[in-house]
């Protein structure tokens, strides 16, 4: 039985006790998947599972579980998605007992941005891609009557190269085989490259990038960790952290708010950067923060439901902080 068949079977069995199960279905074209809300048994047939299923569905949870119409929610989760749920459980942001997780093992998701770039480099139009097949380490895209083949590693999401959690953790159900944990890189290549730049070039880079930000808040809205919803301080007038002025500095400030509020919580799902309509490389901020937390507190977010987030606790003598050193 394939992973998908197993998954469907598990959902079919659990569905009578759940108000809704969220998974993925084929989107508006062959290249995209879109979230699927399964309410009746007939909906289950539309479920798909492939590297196109990029969305972190945990984002819906904090809103859904507050709604009076929905009591019990089921969720299909990859490794990274399940970390979001673990982190939210730790922070008591979701009633975990009302959430049923259907875990899968994931061997990487497609980055549409990278694939589209490659296809355009090959002299084709992105709109002409009409079929995609995943064949082990290869991705084959039917475009313009021909077939273009790429190595999966060159078109997968960057987070998948460094992934240490390919299998969903702390789930009620698990479908298919476990995927071996085999990170291909220690550090994200983009961060590695960026860290080679001197400070002034970094500042100039962000000056250039942040002026493109249109502050659509897609990064915040898609973030499974952003739980404040209508009370986000970056859109509130009281306190007035960010002015309405469309200036580079204010855009930058908004990104700083997002990063700081994710310190010790970010699970590197990369949804913020994927959702960005102007492709700002904001994962550089998030990843740096994640590395800082790992180096200083030896803490990995969303790995253990019982752990205490590092900023909610302290030690009288910190192991890795030498604040008297200056």
């Amino acid at each position: 039985m394939s992973t998908l068949e197993q998954l469907k079977e598990q959902i079919r069995k659990a569905l009578p006790d759940l108000d809704v199960v969220i998974g993925w279905e084929q989107g508006y074209d062959a290249m995209h998947a879109t979230p699927l809300f399964i309410r009746e048994e007939a909906d289950i047939d539309r479920l798909i599972w492939s590297p196109l299923c990029v969305h972190s569905l945990g984002t819906y949870l904090t809103g859904l579980t507050k709604s009076s119409k929905v009591q019990k929610v089921g969720l299909v989760v990859k490794g990274c998605d399940s970390r979001a749920i673990v982190q939210l459980t730790q922070e008591r942001m979701i009633p975990r007992e009302n959430v049923t997780l259907f875990g899968v093992g994931c061997s990487g998701c497609l980055s549409h941005a990278r694939l589209e770039y490659k296809v355009e480099q090959g002299g084709h139009y992105v709109e002409d891609m009409h079929a995609i097949t995943f064949n082990g380490d290869k991705v084959e895209v039917a475009v313009d009557g021909g077939v273009e083949s790429f190595d999966f590693d060159t078109v997968c999401l960057e987070k998948c190269l460094t992934c240490r959690f390919p299998n969903a953790i702390a789930t009620e159900h698990f479908a298919g085989e476990e995927v071996p944990v085999a990170p291909k890189r220690e550090k994200a290549p983009s961060l590695e490259a960026f860290e080679k730049l001197p400070l002034d070039e970094r500042f100039a880079f962000w000056q250039d990038q942040m002026r493109r930000c249109v502050r659509c808040y897609a990064c915040r809205n898609t973030c499974p960790m952003c739980v404040c919803r209508d009370h986000c301080i970056s859109t509130s007038r009281n306190p007035h952290w960010v002015s309405q002025e469309a200036s580079t500095a204010e855009n930058f400030m908004f990104q700083m708010i997002h990063t700081m509020h994710l310190a010790g919580r970010c699970i590197e799902c990369g949804e913020c950067q994927r959702a960005c309509p102007v492709d700002l490389p904001i994962m550089l901020f998030r990843r740096t923060m994640v590395h800082a937390v790992k180096d200083t507190f030896n803490y990995v977010s969303g790995a253990d439901p019982e752990a205490t987030p590092p900023l909610l606790t302290f030690k009288a003598e910190e192991d890795n902080i030498n604040e008297r050193g200056w």
């Binding site: 970094r202 952290w241 580079t248 500095a249 708010i257 740096t288 923060m289 302290f314």
Partner: protein, 175 residues
């Protein structure tokens, strides 16, 4: 002016923001003042109830809004008036310090330290050292301009005006 501090009159003053906790460092600064220790005058002090009150975003906001340096000072660990505020602060501030380099803002522009209410001399030392350091770094670079789209529009309008001004009928009218 002073050979010891050396930064009082050289060049223009820079903007340094200091967040000091009410119970120790603010008292320490007061002690330094009462004892008439000479200090550089670039620092603007904001008094907060506890270093645990300081959100790292205060520091970011200050740096983004044009501060050239930010100094945070609280009670020594184990001496916090509220028992554990500075422990939480230490974790947050340390993360901020490690995060700053990726934004291109020099992490040297931000420092946190501990000064107790009796340490007037230490306060003088901290302020002088930090102010000197910021003066060595010079004014901080600032994020410039509005969204790229606005500027693009302005440029197009400017070009249009230029084209219009070059047109003979405009010239005649101007005459």
């Amino acid at each position: 002016m002073s050979a010891r501090t050396g930064v009082l009159t050289e060049g223009r003053e820079l903007r340094i923001v200091g967040f000091l906790c009410n119970w120790c460092s603010y008292g320490g600064a007061d002690t330094a003042g009462v004892a008439r220790f000479e200090q550089p005058t670039d620092l603007r002090i904001i008094r907060v109830p506890c270093s645990g009150r300081i959100d790292p975003l205060f520091i970011m906001r200050a740096l983004v809004s044009g501060a050239d340096g930010v100094l945070v000072s609280g009670c020594h660990p184990r001496d916090c008036h509220y028992a554990e505020g500075n422990y939480y602060a230490r974790r947050r501030l340390e993360l901020l310090k490690q995060f700053l380099p990726i934004t291109g803002i020099d992490p040297q522009r931000f420092e946190y330290t501990w000064v107790s209410a009796s340490e007037g001399a230490r306060w003088q030392d901290v302020v002088t050292k930090f102010t000197n350091r910021i003066h060595d770094l010079g004014p901080a670079p600032r994020m410039q301009g509005g969204s790229g789209y606005d500027e693009l529009c302005l440029k197009q309008i400017e070009e249009g005006v230029k084209q219009g001004a070059a047109c003979p009928c405009h010239k005649e009218r101007a005459l």
